[in-house]
Symmetry: C2
Subunit: 370 residues, 2 copies
């Protein structure tokens, strides 16, 4: 039952000398080696994956690479956000160094956002920077984490606090990998899709509202379309603002509250996308509360997230714990937490002038069982 290969759709992230392509298709993992030949000049690749993804896709990936003449060294890490730390990263460095990887050799991330972030950061630091390739296998990594060059690991006090901007030389996503993705993770990825709708693309948001069931069920053309649309937005935003001096910050919609949830629950209770989903609901309600966003738009978002089966409320913790967790976020400036807030469905802004009273109220309103 091998999937039909469709011609890959292609996007370019335009970053001058650091530009790269995104290939999106169904069954295109088999073309990985060929796709790399014009884009990566090394001879060896360390394929970094985890214990869940490797049994599913490592053999196929390896064979595609070896057929194109690359030598492959697999590095299999434990699965989960709790392992996104220096100890796990060391295993990558140790393998690269013991196997005498050279400056021209590369790293390939085969997995979700955690694998992509860690592999990218290892590539950024190994010998002060070597090439890397993203082959995202989760919806979340495909629509978001694999594009744009943000890499890193977590610190006990906050997510992604240690990292680097390091752009890949190719992102290749095969929608057929989504057939093995657990439903819960698919929903978590959908949260980032919804995010693009809120901050950038009202038409995408409307499509999600009308075709939610079809999108959740589909694996071929409709999903490829969705991946393409999200990656096109991400590529445009990153090309405008690679290092997040401005526009790129909009992509953090829902993430300030979301990171606080992840930090307070120790990174293992909630999936990133689930935390972002609840975070978006709270952020939209905050925007409505201060009169920035029509309450009915906040309500539309709440409804869509609820219909998608994603969480709309925060785990119950003292409000001060949330405020404390958010102050450690990277988006803090001059002691003020910066929030991405929608002004309507399809448009968002960054605001740093929220009062503690408003934050406390909106946190309290959305906490625990309704």
């Amino acid at each position: 039952m091998s999937p039909t290969t469709l011609p890959a759709r292609q996007l370019t992230v335009d970053l001058g000398p650091r530009s790269y392509d995104i290939l999106i298709g169904s069954g295109i993992l088999a073309e990985l080696g060929t796709a790399l030949q014009s884009r990566f000049r090394g001879q060896r690749l360390a394929v970094v994956s985890n214990e869940t993804v490797a049994p599913l896709y490592l053999a196929q990936t390896r064979s595609a690479l070896e057929q194109a003449g690359y030598r492959v060294t697999p590095i299999i890490l434990p699965d989960g956000e709790t392992y996104k730390n220096w100890t796990t990263l060391q295993r990558i460095f140790d393998t690269l160094i013991e196997n005498r990887f050279e400056r021209g050799d590369g790293l390939l991330a085969l997995g979700g956002g955690v694998i992509g972030d860690m592999t990218g950061f290892a590539a950024a630091c190994h010998q002060r920077g070597v090439p890397f390739i993203q082959v995202p296998t989760t919806l979340l990594a495909q629509v978001d984490a694999s594009v744009g060059g943000k890499t890193g690991i977590n610190h006990a006090l906050g997510k992604n606090l240690i990292g680097a901007f390091h752009q890949p030389c190719l992102v290749l996503m095969d929608a057929t990998t989504l057939t093995t993705l657990p439903h819960r993770e698919r929903l978590a990825g959908l949260a980032e899709v919804i995010k693009y709708g809120v901050i950038w693309d009202a038409e995408l948001f409307a499509r999600l509202e009308t075709q939610l069931a079809e999108i959740l069920a589909a694996t071929a053309e409709p999903v490829i379309d969705l991946l393409y649309r999200c990656c096109a937005i991400k590529a445009a935003v990153v090309a405008m603002d690679e290092r997040e001096q401005g526009t790129r910050a909009l992509l953090n919609f829902g993430h300030t509250f979301g990171h606080a949830i992840e930090s307070l629950t120790g990174y293992d209770g909630w999936l990133h996308g689930e935390a972002v989903a609840a975070g978006m609901v709270v952020a939209a309600r905050l925007a409505a509360r201060i009169g920035l966003c029509p309450p009915e738009d906040a309500e539309r978002l709440h409804t869509l997230i609820r219909r998608a089966g994603l969480p709309t409320r925060l785990p119950a913790r003292p409000v001060e714990h949330y405020l404390e967790a958010m102050i450690h976020d990277k988006k803090v400036e001059a002691g003020k937490i910066r929030f991405v807030l929608p002004t309507r469905i399809g448009h968002a802004v960054v605001r740093a002038d929220l009062t503690t009273a408003d934050l406390q109220a909106v946190l309290a309103d959305h906490m625990g069982d309704p």
Copy 2:
């Protein structure tokens, strides 16, 4: 007995948007805060130093910064190359995060090459990159390590294998800090000065031959002159080739053998400059052996290094251990070790075509007691 303040001499490392100035003078540490005001827009600085340098220069540095309105958080690390690792780096991250350092806040390295490399790497990775400032207090860091943006830590299998290119926003060196530098470390720094003479500047080399004693004794004008000359070479080379695709590799003269010495002796027996000194002698002899360099030029280098009181021979280890250590070096390409070899005093090239027989012979010739 406060030293006379002389007008600082200024150089610029021309790297487009990442350009920065090098200020060189005597007694100019007091002007650090003023010098930063036009070059660094943050409000807080973590001053990273070590247990040896902090008691000598932290108070003065802190006061210069606070007078200019900066808030200072000192981070004092243990002293020595053995601590140039992730465990020590974690202390920097922990302090920054616990003290809520933000993206606009900076790190300032006050110390030698180890402090500069670690502080720079921490600045490269903290929140994916924050500003940093170099205030080198050793001759080696002043003429070499503080300029050019190479940062990193060691791995058990090799030096600086994990790191980043991250340029400082200012390098300020006060020659009076050399008055407290142990003689042995001053000599180690001189090795890098000699390096510039061999690879780039025959006149500098000749001046070292004729004025060695004066240069070793002097602290004011003659040393400032020397710092300026070395930094001017380094700035020119880095501006030509920031990421070491070509010319910059010449600065590694003596370092392939040198890193092997450091790796084989566990980073604590030999100072970096001492290892480079012996490494340069061996590299020059290798160049003479293959007919690339006149034997009399290799001999001039040997003589100068001996007269300076620096080591000219390698510690006795099996030859294979040296070959094994060198193959882990970052400069390996397609399995071939790349050596920087002089063609004469004042000029060098990169060669990757050395035979194992030549390497074995030259290693054996220069090992252990003569």
